[in-house]
């Protein structure tokens, strides 16, 4: 069958995938794609601003268009349809015959007919090219304005603020997201959007756009509103709704809706039975669906129908969630309680900016809709309750009321969901499908995504998928196991207790008693770290050395070329001129690359194994010791200059930082530990982004815990305030030991805290109020370790047995000739593969 598909957007492409999966009938498919690249993920378009590339967004699997039955024509538009001859004419003049034709032309952004709308810097937001234009203009602008305060408009506004622009949203209606939410919700949403730094102007009707007073940056355009006010801006993005691209169908005489849209029946056929329309260009039952999930459903219907099946499109759910980091907004079903007799429950907390509303049937037994703002955690559950018509509990209000401490929420478990419940609406995946995939061996969300596609589009269903996965694994008895690895059927915490309670001092002993096999690169370092935290054994003793990762084994950080870096401790970031000179001399002598790190110290790169002992000798002779940059241990205690010099300093933050760094140096933990001490609330040491951070106040020290920079930043939380020096140290002792006892392998304090049952209150109970009565024990354990600290570099070079191990080759004094450097900005850097290849052709290189 000769099939022509016009449009290779999200929905058109989904149709192709489905046809190729079925592969029953043999199709010969021509795809016309007006854009310069095949289908990409428009839903995640905004991620382009945060670094995604066009390739990342592509929806096309490698090799997909290499199939013989598919012919993709990029940069080619369909310009007319000759229904008599069954021919599509393209923009390059080609005539392509068809047996069946599918229109998947999507929609275009609506730009209201405001005079001045086509001035340079007036843009829309739909394609990758649009985003490129926005980025270009963003660079030349200081102020950006979005016209339209709907889902897309808000996403766009966030993108503008992320580009560093002072951002405005102009909305015609009295509130934001007028279609999805009510007045009460609109107020809370507005406050949240304003908190992102966006100025919101509602009830503004733009009459015209003209020259602004500033002309250049900061007022290129002036927007004049019907109420007489005006706004100056450098760029404008229209996001005032979408209109179906129905021009081809219209010219071919197909039935078109009064306000646009290609009319389709339940099989997605247009008024010509050989022509289908799907996605945002199609009008079903008087409605256009501006979401991708209904489009995918239409694609499924057409794929089936073309192969002789007859499933029908019966409308789709329009529930949505806004994809803005930090602004949870969701709307489900009949959010405005338009159903006759509908009842509503509303909860507002203006301080925390929460707004939640439930809409139920008149008898209160079934959920018709909901609005969630500020916390959309219940979105998945509520959506399922509505879609599956699950009977509500007697007091439905508890579904949205914040749970008072500890009590479980009166929600539904995933077990209550029928097998047919659609969990992922984007990809039409049911609970049954997910359960079967788990039965067939999927063990993680990533595996489920790969084999069912659930969760791979908007991601809104991932929390629910995770719950189902867990419940299913538990049900199948596939212990949702916390086993460290195949060698130990215990969690890290359990192993820690075994080691302590049974006084186990070696890995071999632990393996003999509680494990199997030889161990591996997961359990060995973990147990090595536990042994070090419990007994503070030297990490490089003959028994412990084989447990260490290369970094710990060589007391340096391995680099991409196999060389190592050297980071001496510079406690609190304080260093004398003489200290600096020594570092400079050593780096110069051994030709090391030097860099100031993000942790207030100096890193020297490019040493080979056999050079490490000599370098350490020179450093330790000058009074330096290891900075443990390689270990899962204390890294730096960053400090600000504090009361000694700074006119605002409350207390001596430098002395405290140095004291803390020396106290905890060398302490082995489940993951690295970072700290900071600031002399006042201006917080120049960024203590609130640290595992434990200290801030001086008039009344003493405030202790913050469980912060993180890095991959997933998290603000630290206040654990205790107004502490004197001694109490501060005791609190930190307890906190660190409690973390070391109970955390998982490679779990930073932030993640540990997020998984800690009872949260901050529990942590305060244990650490500050000593509810478990283990405070003294934790302090004693810490004291034992602090007392026996020894510098690992010095130990390594002073022990001839250990020092002997630092050789590049066991049978030669040569160095690794694959470690090759070139010069850049007056220092060395590793040569690239190309540079290495050309090193024999006379290009200057510095060999190690």
């Amino acid at each position: 069958m000769k099939l022509v598909v016009i449009g290779n957007g999200m929905v058109g492409h989904s149709l192709l995938e489905k046809l190729c999966e079925q592969s029953a009938a043999d199709f010969d498919i021509t795809v016309l794609c007006e854009e310069p690249r095949p289908a990409y993920d428009r839903v995640h378009l905004s991620s382009y601003f945060s670094g995604s590339t066009a390739e990342d967004l592509s929806l096309v699997k490698p090799g997909f268009f290499d199939q013989d039955r598919l012919r993709l024509k990029l940069n080619t538009r369909g310009v007319s349809i000759d229904r008599q001859a069954r021919v599509v004419v393209t923009s390059d003049g080609t005539r392509i015959g068809y047996d069946k034709l599918v229109l998947a032309t999507g929609s275009y952004p609506f730009v209201p007919p405001v005079p001045g709308r086509d001035r340079p810097g007036c843009l829309v937001y739909r394609t990758i090219e649009d985003l490129e234009a926005m980025t270009d203009w963003g660079r030349k602008s200081r102020i950006g304005t979005v016209i339209g305060g709907g889902l897309l408009g808000l996403e766009c506004a966030k993108a503008l603020t992320d580009m560093g622009l002072q951002t405005h949203v102009v909305e015609f209606a009295p509130r934001l997201m007028a279609v999805q939410i009510d007045d009460g919700g609109g107020r809370v949403l507005r406050a949240k959007i304003e908190a992102l730094g966006v100025s919101v102007h509602t009830q503004k009707n733009t009459l015209e756009i003209t020259d602004g007073s500033g002309m250049g940056v900061g007022g290129r355009h002036a927007m004049k509103f019907a109420d007489g006010s005006q706004l100056e801006t450098d760029m404008i993005v229209f996001s005032a709704g979408i209109r179906p691209r129905d021009e081809l169908a219209r010219n071919a005489g197909l039935a078109i809706g009064e306000r646009g849209g290609i009319v389709i029946d339940n099989h997605c056929r247009t008024s010509d039975p050989d022509i289908y329309a799907i996605g945002e260009c199609a009008l079903w039952n008087g409605r256009i669906y501006g979401l991708v999930a209904p489009g995918y459903e239409m694609a499924r219907v057409v794929a089936q129908h073309l192969s002789g099946g007859s499933i029908e499109f019966n409308g789709a759910d329009m529930s949505t969630k806004l994809k803005l980091m930090g602004v949870d907004v969701a709307s489900i079903g009949d959010a405005h309680a338009a159903t006759p007799g509908a009842r509503a429950y509303v909860f507002t907390d203006e301080r925390k900016q929460l707004y939640k509303k439930l809409v139920t049937s008149p008898d209160g037994q079934h959920l018709l809709g909901a609005v969630l703002i500020g916390d959309a955690g219940e979105y998945g559950t509520l959506l399922q309750m509505m879609l599956n018509d699950i009977r509500l509990p007697d007091a439905p209000e508890f579904l949205i009321l914040p749970s008072s401490d500890g009590k479980a929420r009166a929600g539904i478990g995933v077990d209550a969901l029928p097998g047919t419940a659609q969990i992922c609406s984007c990809n039409d995946v049911s609970k049954d499908t997910i359960c079967s995939a788990v039965e067939a061996g999927s063990r993680t969300v990533a595996e489920l995504k790969a084999c069912t596609k659930a969760g791979s589009s908007c991601g809104g269903c991932v929390p629910l998928m995770t719950q189902i996965l867990k419940a299913e694994l538990k049900r199948q008895g596939v212990a949702v196991n916390n086993h460290l690895c195949e060698h130990f059927a215990y969690s890290r915490q359990e192993l820690y207790h075994l080691v302590r309670v049974q006084q186990i001092k070696t890995f071999d002993d632990l393996l003999q008693r509680h494990g199997r096999g030889l161990g591996c690169d997961i359990c060995k370092p973990t147990v090595g770290s536990i042994l070090a935290s419990c007994w503070n054994q030297f990490v490089l003793s003959k028994r412990n050395a084989p447990l260490q990762d290369s970094n710990d084994y060589f007391l340096g950080n391995i680099q991409k070329d196999g060389s190592y870096s050297i980071v001496p401790r510079i406690a609190g970031g304080e260093i004398t001129p003489d200290g600096l000179i020594v570092l400079g001399q050593v780096a110069k002598k051994y030709g090391l690359y030097t860099k100031i790190t993000g942790g207030q110290r100096i890193d020297m790169f490019g040493a080979q194994v056999h050079q490490l002992p000599q370098i350490w000798r020179e450093l330790t002779d000058a009074g330096f010791e290891t900075g443990h940059a390689y270990g899962k241990s204390i890294r730096t205690v960053k400090s600000c200059v504090g009361s000694t010099w700074c006119r605002y300093g409350m207390l001596d933050s430098v002395s405290m930082a140095i004291q803390l760094e020396h106290r905890y140096k060398g302490l082995r933990a489940p993951h690295k530990l970072k700290s900071g001490v600031s002399g006042c609330t201006r917080e120049c040491a960024e203590a609130q982004s640290k595992d434990f951070g200290v801030i001086a106040t008039e009344k003493g020290w405030n202790l913050y815990v469980c912060g993180n920079g890095g991959m997933k930043p998290r603000h630290a939380e206040l654990l205790a305030s107004d502490l004197d020096d001694a109490t501060l140290v005791r609190m930190i002792d307890r906190f660190l030991m409690f973390y070391i006892r109970t955390a998982d392998r490679l779990q930073r304090t932030s993640v540990w805290r997020d998984n800690l049952e009872g949260g901050l209150d529990y942590l305060k109970d244990v650490i500050v109020h000593d509810r478990l009565g283990i405070g003294a024990e934790l302090e004693a354990e810490m004291a034992a370790i602090v007392d026996v600290y020894e510098d690992e570099w010095k130990k390594a070079i002073d022990d001839p047995e250990v020092a002997k191990r630092f050789r590049t080759f066991v049978n030669s004094d040569a160095g690794d000739n694959n470690v090759v450097f070139v010069e850049e900005r007056g220092q060395i850097r590793p040569a690239t593969a190309d540079e290495k290849r050309s090193r024999f052709k006379g290009i200057a290189v510095v060999a190690a």
Partner: protein, 120 residues
């Protein structure tokens, strides 16, 4: 004593170090005719030492580092994990468990008179 890899008839046995030069459950790198070979001493659960040799070059990172990886077992196989990106290499065959296309060469090893010998 402990075999690994195939010994071709033309292979030459070369002594690279004494057994005490390799701490149990660690590796060292030997330079043989300009070739870097990672040599491992693995203690089994009964306390017997076995010796293995594979290329020191890690095809995934393009760095000469395999001798510096952690030794362990995965199922019945004895493996080393590359210290750079943590792929596992079978010490007996050189096969890369994550991506067989990136496997390395394994060499036969024997111990004689407290010396470790490799067939190259």
């Amino acid at each position: 004593m402990d075999g690994a890899g195939a010994v071709s008839p033309a292979a030459q046995w070369v002594s690279v170090c004494r057994i005490e030069d390799i701490w149990p459950d660690t590796g060292v790198c030997a330079l043989v005719d300009g070739r870097q070979i990672a040599v491992f001493r693995v203690r089994d659960r009964d306390g017997h030492d076995r010796y293995h040799a594979i290329d020191n070059h890690d095809p995934q990172s393009q760095a000469n580092v395999l001798s510096r990886g952690l030794i362990g077992s995965i199922g019945a196989r004895t493996v080393v994990a590359s210290p750079i990106y943590k792929q596992h290499y079978d010490l007996t065959t050189g096969e890369c468990l994550e991506d067989a296309a990136h496997s390395v060469r394994a060499y036969a090893v024997r111990v004689d008179d407290d010396h470790v010998w490799i067939a190259v």
